[in-house]
């Protein structure tokens, strides 16, 4: 029986005031109180068909944990949530819920959907504070070893799932800190690093081994993992690759950054605490960030926090086509980011010292839909204008990283250099080697990488439990024929 409808709108998320927060790196959204979480959970009408579960890439029993919260059963809620999602505190903060669970919410047909992400975050944070001493449940060791390459969302999910199934798991991370994009990419103000560290500590507590500063393809090759190092299976989740730069004059001037570099300097290397930390980052007065995704939003909001007077977001399509989460776009606007939509840079100008002085842009209009189904932006003749900027950040996507694949000749890649993997099993062209996340899909989201990780863990388990490895052969052949 469906419940009666309560409030038509979501319980608002308490946030830091826009003006002060635009100048600090503390988390923007403060999280629900117990009362707010219970009130929001009570908005769920307990509909019969539960479309939200299918809307979730890791198939969380959303109505289950929401009902538990509505009834003040937070321990139950945490168990339901964690049984399907090993990183709920992260997902509650960075998932694009409006495109997933909340998009298909029955309540959302007429009113605002249930704030699933906000309640998820509440449960995860509550569990972190109140259930810290829980001993993780684990299957007895089965003697098999799995190597996980990359400690981003895909790798952490695979590691978390397999360690519970009784595998011995070693994560290899190229950077000096684990977490991948959660650490170098997503800023502190959106995802506090202590939360990521907490999730990693949990995996280590479960028995996962972590080796930082090991780059597979250089320090060790894929072949060596399977032979000398004696791993029974390998998961590759190496994530984002080479950043893309627009082919326009001035792209190599001092002060033109890829979003990867800009964010890595700030987040991983803590350039915002220079000179206490040694890594510098140009403190610009006027910063233009080019792109419309979450990475662009993270960069432009970081620019404000680094002290920019003006932070511009330059995007060639309109607001409707922006791939960023709605909440990030709203937060950026509240904080004073100035949007130049339907605008594209054509040239960056330098000063006598090789730095950035300004940028020429042109207006765009939307034409016919392109391959992505979005309307293609076309330049408006004679619409060029100049903006005065001293830093430009390119957040226009990335290609595949070649470091691992270039030393693994039998690992099949597509024409963009991404690893070819079976969408259902994550199996690659090499038996016992699985891959998922951005290195397979190209730039996507944290939750999709986690979804791939979940599937990969399942099929690694199937592969290592089947002595004949029979099912694998067919998949391999399919991947090879691609």
């Amino acid at each position: 029986m469906a419940k009666k409808i309560g409030s038509k709108t979501k319980t608002p998320m308490p946030c830091q005031e826009a003006r002060p927060r635009a100048r600090n790196f503390s988390e923007v959204a403060l999280g629900y109180s117990v009362e707010m979480a219970v009130a929001e959970a009570n908005r769920c009408i307990e509909c019969k068909n539960r479309p939200c579960i299918a809307g979730c890439p890791v198939e969380i029993d959303i109505p289950g944990f929401i009902k538990a919260v509505a009834e003040n059963r937070f321990v139950d809620a945490a168990h339901i949530l964690k049984s399907k999602n090993s990183l709920p505190a992260i997902c509650g903060r960075v998932c694009p819920q409006e495109e997933q669970c909340e998009k298909v919410c029955t309540l959302g047909v007429k009113f605002e959907p249930v704030g699933v992400g906000r309640v998820e975050r509440f449960v995860a944070d509550w569990a972190r504070e109140n259930l810290a001493d829980e001993t993780p449940q684990k299957q007895p060791p089965n003697g098999k070893r799995v190597a996980v390459v990359g400690s981003g969302p895909a790798g952490l999910t695979v590691a978390g799932d397999l360690i519970q199934m009784g595998y011995q798991v070693t994560i290899f991370e190229a950077l000096h800190k684990a977490g991948g994009v959660l650490v170098y990419g997503i800023p502190e103000f959106r995802l506090p690093k202590s939360i990521v560290q907490n999730e990693i500590d949990y995996l280590l507590h479960m028995g996962v081994e972590l080796q930082t500063n090991v780059v597979i393809g250089k320090s060790l090759t894929l072949d060596e993992l399977l032979s000398e190092e004696g791993f029974d299976a390998v998961f590759i989740g190496t994530g984002a690759g080479l950043p893309s730069f627009m082919k326009i004059p001035g792209i190599n001037l001092i002060g033109v950054y890829s979003a990867n570099e800009y964010l890595t300097r700030s987040n991983l290397m803590k350039a915002y605490r220079f000179p206490e930390y040694d890594t510098p980052l140009i403190r610009a007065k006027n910063v233009a960030v080019v792109g419309g995704g979450n990475t662009a939003m993270d960069s432009v909001r970081t620019a404000l926090r680094l002290g920019a007077d003006h932070a511009y977001l330059i995007y060639r399509r309109s607001r409707n086509e922006m791939p960023a989460r709605h909440e990030e776009i709203e937060h950026a606007e509240e904080e004073g980011v100035q949007f130049h939509l339907l605008t594209n840079p054509v040239e960056i100008f330098g000063n006598e010292r090789g730095g950035v002085r300004g940028m020429r842009c042109q207006r765009m209009e939307l034409g016919e839909p392109d391959d992505s189904g979005r309307r293609r932006p076309v330049p408006v003749p004679g619409s060029e204008f100049e903006v005065e900027v001293d830093t430009v950040v390119m957040a226009v996507g990335q290609g595949a990283n070649p470091v691992l694949t270039s030393t693994a000749p039998n690992l099949k890649t597509n024409k963009w250099g991404n690893i070819v993997a079976d969408p259902e099993t994550c199996a690659t062209s090499i038996p016992g080697v699985f891959a998922g996340g951005d290195i397979v899909s190209g730039g996507a989201t944290v939750i999709l990488a986690m979804g791939a990780g979940r599937k990969a863990a399942r099929s690694i388990h199937a592969y290592l439990s089947d002595p004949e490895r029979s099912s694998q052969t067919e998949i391999q052949e399919a991947v090879m024929q691609g």
């Binding site: 190229a174 080479l242 890829s258 290397m269 803590k270 220079f274 000179p275």
Partner: protein, 283 residues
């Protein structure tokens, strides 16, 4: 954690550190580099691997103290530790067996050239080495390189030792003697590499340079080390560090190396003030 097992002072402000890094020691080949991250607050900086000892599981790094990060590394002593060392990174040098090559190392570049000289020597190539420095006291690895080379010419800008002049003067002399040279490897400060390339372009001799731009991750993720080579954007950490010197846009490289001059100055001043007058001096 990587323990320093040995330290040698090679010249004023130049030290040689032998550090534990067994995995990298086993893997590395001539021309490759590591990213070094001294401690939590430190920068990640690229340093060429000068040598390795797989049996001892150690790497040799040669570091010139220029800014805070390198001066701080140079003050470490045997027994101290470096938090993170990542590698080996970049593509190894392409070593053509049985060839006749000229290897040029300018200043600290001699440390990069040294393992390349050895690799050529081990592949039955004949190596003429030119090592240059501003003045005699800054010269490094002369004996080591001399022992591996068929001929070694030392140049100093001020004439305090060896031939007076630049490495290009020595190179011109070799080329004008009609000596067959299949390839020139030139590693050193950007103006030196540019000058060598000018000479070899005119002489029509293939020239490889090794670039050392600003890097963060060193694994192809950040794009900070991009250079234009033959009109194409290349990432030094994964496509290099060695490129055809006749195709490199040295102007842009020079400009980009100055990206953080102000910050570097501030950082160094602060460091020297914080740790007193002995900071940055050879320990």
């Amino acid at each position: 954690m990587h323990r320093i097992v040995r330290k040698n002072q090679l010249a004023a402000d130049v030290v040689q550190l032998e550090v534990e890094a067994p995995l990298i020691a086993r893997k590395r080949r001539a021309g490759q580099f590591v990213i070094v991250h001294l401690n939590e607050e430190a920068e990640r900086i690229p340093l060429t691997i000068a040598d390795s000892d797989p049996a001892r599981g150690t790497l040799t790094l040669i570091i010139q103290g220029v800014g805070k990060s390198t001066k701080q590394l140079n003050r470490l002593q045997a027994g101290d530790v470096i938090r993170d060392i990542l590698g080996p990174l970049g593509k190894p040098t392409h070593i053509q067996p049985n060839s006749q090559v000229v290897c040029i190392g300018g200043g600290i570049g001699a440390a990069v050239v040294y393992p390349i000289v050895r690799a050529f020597r081990e592949s039955s190539s004949q190596v003429i080495s030119i090592i240059g420095a501003r003045t005699k006291s800054l010269l490094i690895l002369e004996d080591e390189i001399r022992a591996l080379s068929e001929q070694t010419i030392v140049t100093t800008d001020d004439g305090s030792y060896g031939m007076s002049g630049f490495v290009t003067d020595a190179l011109k002399r070799i080329l004008s003697n009609g000596k067959v040279v299949d390839e020139v490897i030139a590693i050193g400060p950007v103006p030196m590499m540019r000058a060598v390339c000018k000479v070899t372009r005119e002489a029509g001799v293939k020239t490889v340079v090794s670039l050392n731009p600003i890097m963060v991750d060193g694994t192809g993720m950040c794009g900070g080390c991009r250079v234009m080579v033959g009109g194409k954007m290349q990432f030094v950490c994964v496509d290099g560090p060695e490129f055809d010197g006749h195709e490199v846009d040295f102007d842009e490289l020079t400009a980009r190396l100055k990206s953080y001059t102000q910050f570097e100055k501030e950082s160094l001043e602060r460091y020297e003030n914080l740790c007193g007058v002995h900071c940055g001096l050879p320990a």
